[in-house]
């Protein structure tokens, strides 16, 4: 008999015991270990996914901050550009104003210089005219300029119009001190006497004269009494001389500034 039923029973029991042993020592521990590992891997994957999501969130935040920063920077740049433009305009205006002021000052200086030059020229012209007249009178008429001036002034006193004479008479009458006769040179005594005489003849009141020399009166005599004044000088001649010279200079300047027609460029070529 190939089958021994006792052995069959024993083997069945052995097998059942082995099933329990294997379940106890093999399957359960191994499966538990696998489960634990899978849970751990799942947890790590979930953790990695969470970290990835967090990183994505941070990346988005960073990108948004970057965009905001860029926008802010662009706004600041625009603002700075505008401010620089405004500042540049202000500086240009200031520079322009300063330039204008400088130009005005320079023009003023030039005008002053020109005025001073004119005065110097006038002064010099007076002196020269006076010298020429003195020399010409000495050479040609055998007389001095002072004599002629004194005589001419005496004649003028005599030939005063009524209104001036009345005004001067009132002034001489009311004058408290002596009446001052100022001249650019020392009047010789005959001329002083001639003037005194002319006054005595012209005005009823006796004039007490005082003769003074004033360097600024070039070739001129003036009589001043209580606000009234009678004068003669060569200023009128000088004025006409100045006018003649100015006319001559202006005609020279206008001739020099007019460009010759042959060298005038064609307007088409100039604007090309």
């Amino acid at each position: 008999m190939l089958i021994d039923w006792f052995t069959v029973g024993a083997q069945a029991l052995n097998f059942l015991i082995l099933v329990w042993l294997m379940k106890r020592f093999l399957y359960q521990p191994i499966l538990d270990a696998i489960d634990a590992r899978e849970r751990r891997v799942a947890a790590e994957l979930a953790d990695a996914a969470a970290k990835q999501a967090e990183a994505k969130q941070e990346r988005d935040d960073f990108r948004q901050r970057n965009e905001a920063f860029d926008q802010q920077r662009a706004e600041l740049l625009d603002k700075a550009r505008d401010e620089a433009k405004t500042e540049r305009r202000r500086l240009l205006d200031e520079a322009r104003a300063a330039t204008d002021a400088l130009q005005a000052q320079r023009r003023q200086t030039l005008d002053n210089d020109a005025r001073e030059l004119n005065q110097a020229i006038s002064q010099r012209t007076r002196q020269e005219v006076f010298a020429i007249a003195r020399k010409a009178l000495g050479d040609l008429a055998d007389t001095s300029l002072e004599e002629r001036l004194g005589n001419v002034f005496a004649q003028r006193l005599r030939a005063l119009d009524e209104t001036t004479r009345a005004g001067l008479a009132a002034a001489l009458g009311s004058a408290a001190g002596p009446t001052v006769v100022r001249s650019a040179f020392d009047l010789p005594l005959p001329q002083q006497a001639a003037i005194q005489q002319a006054l005595d003849e012209t005005f009823p009141a006796k004039a007490n004269l005082k003769f003074e020399t004033a360097a600024d009166l070039i070739a001129g005599i003036e009589l001043a009494a209580n606000g009234q004044k009678v004068a003669w000088s060569i200023d009128d001649y000088l004025a006409s001389l100045e006018q003649a010279i100015r006319d001559l200079l202006e005609s020279q300047a206008s001739r020099g500034s007019a460009p010759p027609h042959a060298t005038e460029p064609k307007s088409g070529a100039a604007t090309a």
Binding site: L2, V19, I30
Partner: protein, 233 residues
């Protein structure tokens, strides 16, 4: 020369006896249980683990996948029974390379015991899964006329399980024994190698068939298409 390790009697008292089948089975049980205990003593749940743990995890996972492939949806429920069937038969058959060892599976008593275990386990799993009434009703499907044939089918496949494994293992041992007397060199080694292959294949066939029977009992009778009798190689 023994036809079966049953004939190796070490101790005898009435019907009680201690033959080679039982002794070698105990030895195998000791090796399997001790080996498992040693390997699973320091199991790692981390990503790094020992080679033995790796090996056992691969074996257990592979058995679980095979059970799932057969059609059992919850392999962990059947893993201890079917996995132990495979491991015991494979270990018993592979042990033939040890001199003096006689495989317990070469005994018809052992294979009959295993087949009886399957014979009992199939309805138990079926009732646990379907309930007693539905399980019993499954024997009358598709018609009541099929009841005797279904019962005969259950008995015959159990007998086939036992005889197939016994025949293969016994014949292998017998062939090696005969060849040792005729050509003591080379050929027995070739046959031993062939026997190892045959042993693994038989372990696989036995456990897969048991899984198929259980699957048929728990699932197949839920639909008509699955009510066909399980295949037998």
């Amino acid at each position: 020369m023994h036809l079966s390790p049953d004939e190796m009697i070490f101790w005898h008292y009435g019907v009680l006896k201690l033959n080679g089948t039982i002794v070698f089975t105990w030895a195998l049980m000791l090796v399997l249980a001790l080996g498992s205990k040693l390997v699973t003593r320091k199991l790692s749940t981390g990503l790094e683990r020992s080679r033995w743990q790796n090996l056992l995890e691969i074996v257990v996972s592979a058995i679980g996948r095979q059970i799932e492939d057969v059609g059992l949806r919850h392999p962990r429920k059947y893993l201890p029974f079917l996995g132990t069937l495979f491991l015991f038969i494979a270990a018993a058959n592979l042990g033939t390379i040890v001199p003096g060892y006689e495989p317990p599976t070469g005994s018809l008593s052992t294979t009959a015991a295993l087949a009886l275990c399957v014979f009992v386990a199939v309805p138990l799993f079926g009732i646990a899964d379907l309930g007693l009434r539905r399980y019993l009703k499954s024997y009358t499907e598709p018609t009541l006329l099929m009841l005797p044939f279904n019962i005969i089918s259950e008995l015959s496949r159990t007998l086939a399980l036992a005889v197939r494994l016994f025949g293969n293992m016994m014949s292998g041992v017998m062939i090696i024994g005969i060849l040792l007397t005729i050509t003591p060199f080379i050929f027995p080694i070739v046959m031993t190698v062939l026997g190892l292959l045959t042993g693994i294949v038989q372990a696989y066939i036995f456990s897969i068939l048991a899984a198929v029977y259980i699957a048929a009992a728990t699932r197949t009778r839920k639909s008509e298409t699955d009510s066909r009798p399980a295949p037998t190689p």
